[in-house]
Symmetry: C2
DNA sequence: TAGATTGTTAATCGATTAACAATC
DNA sequence: TAGATTGTTAATCGATTAACAATC
C-alpha cells in the first residue's frame, strides 16, 4: 500500500487560517464574507482563497461572498473537525504539557484522554486535566482506551521504539513532534511537526533581509 | 520594500533533516556520505537530495558521495547556524517554557538571553536557566539587551500589540507561535509556526487512509 | 577496471496567478 | 441598474523527477 499523501496540501494548510477569520466574522454577526476580505487579512491573493475554498465544495454568491455559517461547516467537515477523535499523548514533558493545555484542539475534535510518562512523580497525577499514566502500561492502556491518535512528544532517542509500541497497540495516526523520521507501516498515518525547518526558513530570511539592507 | 520570501523554501525546510543525518554519520566516523543514503533514511528521492545539497555550494565526489565535515559546515553556513543570534522569548507559559528547554536551538546559534512574562510569580526567577523579566520592561530591556530575534508565545489576543512593541524596541525578526497573522513593517522578518495547519494535514490524511481501507 | 554516484540539462508535475464571462 | 465578486478556463511559475554523460 502506498504512503498516504495529501493532495492540495498547501491549500489544506491554509484552511485553518481561513476558518479562524471566518469565525471572527461569525462572532461579528456577518452573514457573508468575501474571498477578497479573507485574502486581505492574510496577505494572500483573492484568487488563491477562492481556489482553496472551492475544495470544500462551498458555493459563493457573486457580489456578496460566501455564506459564513455554511462556510464554517464546510471547512470543518472537509477537515473532519466536526467529529470527535480520541488521542493519547506520549511524553508529558515541557512540550507535551504545553500541547495538553491547548484548548483550541479540543474545539477541533481532538480529545486527549490520557498521557503517558516515565516520571513516577507525574504518574497518577493530572496535567491540564489529563490523567498521567505509567509508560509501562502504554500498550495495554491504549488498547483499553481504543485511542486512534498518538501525540508523540518523547525525547528523540525513544521515538522509534515508542512508535512501534503504539502501532502494536492499534494506533493508526501519529502526530510526531520529535525530530526522528519514524519507520512505521504504510497503513499508519504520520504527520511530523518540525520546528527546525521553521527555524531554517527564519534563518535564511534573516540573511536575505540583512543583505537587502546593507 | 517587498516582503521577504525564501526562494527554494521547500529545500531549505529539508536541510535540517539532512544535517541531522549527516551529523550521525559524522559521529559514526564516516568521511563521506552519499545522497542515496540520506534519501533512503528520509524516504526521499536521491535526485531531490542532490538538488537540495547543491544550493549550499558543496561538491560531491562520484562514487563516494559528499565529504561529511565540509557538508556539515556548508549547510550550517548556508543557514547562518554557524553564527550566534541573540533572542528574547515573550510569554513564558507552557509553550514558551518548552521552547526554552530545547537545547537543540542553542547548537544552531539561537541564544535566548531573557524571557518576559506578566506573571509576578515568574518574574525575577529563571526557567531552564533563562531569567524571566517583567512584561512592563519589555521595550526598555530589549533595547538594552540588543536582541535581534523575538520568540512570540503570548496568548493570541496579545500578539499584535506585543509585536508592535517588539518592533519599536528594535527587534528585526519574530518567530511567531501564535495563530495571529502579524501586521508589521516589511523590514521585519516573521516566521509563523502554525500547529493548526499540521493538524489539518493529519486530519485529511486520516480520512484518506480510512477511505482506502473501507 | 567496473559501477555507483555525481551534476547538468530537459521533461513533468502541481500550484499559483491571470483573464474573463456570469451573476446577484 | 452598476459593479463587486464569483467560478472556470488558460497561462505562468516553480518544484520535482527523469535521463544521462562525466568521473572517481
Amino acid at each position: 500500500m502506498a504512503k498516504t499523501k495529501v493532495s492540495f496540501a498547501p491549500s489544506v494548510r491554509r484552511l485553518p487560517s481561513y476558518l479562524h477569520i471566518i469565525r471572527q466574522a461569525q462572532r461579528n454577526g456577518d452573514y457573508y464574507i468575501s474571498g477578497t476580505i479573507i485574502a486581505n487579512e492574510l496577505n494572500l491573493e483573492p484568487i488563491q482563497v477562492r481556489k482553496d475554498l472551492a475544495i470544500t465544495g462551498i458555493i459563493g454568491k457573486p457580489k456578496k461572498g460566501y455564506p459564513v455559517e455554511a462556510l464554517v461547516a464546510a471547512i470543518e467537515h472537509y477537515l473532519g473537525w466536526d467529529e470527535s477523535h480520541e488521542a493519547v499523548l506520549v511524553g508529558a514533558g515541557n512540550l507535551g504539557s504545553a500541547l495538553m493545555g491547548y484548548q483550541e484542539f479540543q474545539l477541533h475534535g481532538l480529545h486527549v484522554i490520557a498521557a503517558f510518562d516515565t516520571d513516577p512523580a507525574k504518574v497518577g497525577g493530572k496535567i491540564h486535566g489529563v490523567p498521567i499514566l505509567s509508560m509501562d502500561s502504554l500498550e495495554e492502556n491504549i488498547k483499553l482506551l481504543r485511542a486512534e491518535i498518538a501525540i508523540l512528544t518523547v525525547p528523540s532517542p525513544f521515538a522509534q521504539a515508542t512508535a512501534e509500541t503504539l502501532v502494536k497497540a492499534g494506533i493508526s495516526s501519529i502526530w510526531n513532534f520529535t525530530n526522528t523520521k519514524l519507520k512505521v507501516p504504510d497503513s499508519v498515518v504520520v504527520q511530523r511537526e518540525d520546528l527546525s525547518s521553521g527555524y531554517a526558513i527564519l534563518s535564511v530570511m534573516m540573511q536575505t533581509q540583512r543583505g537587502r539592507l546593507s
